[in-house]
């Protein structure tokens, strides 16, 4: 009786479990599934080397205390440590709202599937390297495109007028970014 009472006195778990959705029809779990590191096989990208992309690391680096950051960097080669410290110091000097925005944006990138993430980063880098005189028109077009509903955006991207104004490379930048960037990549979002 006491045992039964004790068991029923674990309401937190039972409350959680009661509302937990019934598991799907018995399907085998994906093979070689391991959160600690990638393994070959299954749907996990075949990559036996440590992941370069560490989700959440950009924003963690921004938010770490000096002690935490020192601990995080201490295993790096000294020359690299110094270089990273200098670069982080410049980022630290930014206004808090800009740091918050970058943290949100970094999380947005983390939320993309691997292939899309690669393309978006590639195109963000390409955007950053645009000639000075192309920045304003590209910025304006990107903003317009991102605010459009999808079908209107697709029409614009496919239009002859659009293809006349922008080079093929610029078209790719605008298309890939407008279709994949979250809205908080726009100023003021």
């Amino acid at each position: 009786m006491a045992s039964v009472l004790l068991l029923t006195a674990w309401p937190g778990w039972s409350a959680d479990q009661k509302d937990k959705p019934a598991p799907a029809a018995k399907a085998p779990a994906p093979r070689n599934f391991n959160a600690k590191g990638p393994k070959a096989g299954g749907g996990v990208p075949k990559n036996n080397s440590p992941r370069i992309n560490n989700p959440g690391l950009p924003q963690r680096l921004l938010q770490m205390t000096p002690e935490e950051r020192e601990r995080a960097l201490e295993k790096l080669p000294p020359a690299q440590q110094e270089q990273i410290r200098e670069r982080l110091a410049k980022l630290d000097a930014l206004p808090q709202w800009q740091k918050d925005q970058m943290a949100r944006q970094a999380r947005g990138l983390d939320s993309l599937p691997v292939e899309k993430r690669k393309i978006v980063i590639q195109q963000l880098t390409a955007f950053n390297k645009l000639p000075k005189e192309r920045i304003v028109p590209m910025r304006q077009e990107l903003t317009r495109l991102m605010k459009m509903p999808e079908d209107q955006r697709n029409s614009r991207l496919a239009s002859e007028e659009f293809k006349k104004i922008y080079s093929p490379e610029e078209q790719n930048i605008l298309g890939d970014l407008s279709q994949n960037l979250p809205m908080d990549y726009l100023p003021g979002k």
Partner: protein, 201 residues
């Protein structure tokens, strides 16, 4: 351009495993991965709930509950299905309960109001004139009413099929029924919607 960013099978599998992989990291104690999952799925979950219950405040409350349950279940999480299947199963379960409980009975009444609850951001805000705006709002109201008249399971099936672009098999797993049952649900739901909305062509 579209081809490069199009989600093909390989990318879909990567996306499937990526979400589940993130959840397994949450299980291991990585809170940042929960943040990533929240960022990725927050909008789609809340928008789904909004279209189910047609009340933004309720949708957000239910959305909170969805992610709370995801977090609470982290220690027993097993990736036996797509992460989004599990996520939307929780969301659908909560939405159906909310509708059946009658807790939000006044939902239907709100359809008759000039509700300030109506979404404020729609298509481009550059509406040429007031008449066009009124036409737009009137169309929107018809759509909302049409969806609201659907029985709950049909409504859930349509919303997942249309806005989440789920396949029948995944909807079936979310609703815990067969694929043929999902086909029936969608057949009847779209039949109703065609009857109510075809004139808007």
């Amino acid at each position: 351009m579209d081809q490069r960013v199009k989600t093909d099978m390989g990318a879909s599998l990567a996306a499937l495993d990526y979400d589940a992989e993130l959840m397994l990291r949450v299980k291991e104690g990585d809170g940042a991965s929960f943040g990533v999952l929240l960022d990725k799925h927050r909008l789609s979950v809340i928008h789904f709930l909004y279209r189910m219950v047609q009340n933004q405040a309720v949708a957000e409350e239910l959305g909170q509950e969805v992610f709370l349950r995801v977090y609470r279940s982290r220690s027993t999480y097993e990736p036996t299905a797509k992460f989004t299947t599990w996520l939307f199963r929780i969301a659908t379960h909560l939405a159906l309960n909310a509708l059946r409980d009658g807790k939000y009975e006044k939902l239907q009444d709100r359809l008759d109001d000039d509700s300030g609850d109506m979404p404020v951001r729609q298509v481009s805000d550059k509406r040429p004139n007031i008449e066009a705006h009124m036409v737009y709002e009137s169309r929107l109201e018809e759509v909302r009413r049409a969806i609201a008249t659907l029985p709950e399971k049909q409504r859930a099936a349509v919303l997942m099929h249309k806005y989440q672009e789920m396949e029948y098999s995944q909807i079936a797993k979310v609703l815990n029924c067969s694929e043929s049952a999902v086909k029936s649900l969608l057949f009847r739901a779209y039949e109703t919607l065609r009857a109510r909305l075809a004139h808007m062509a």
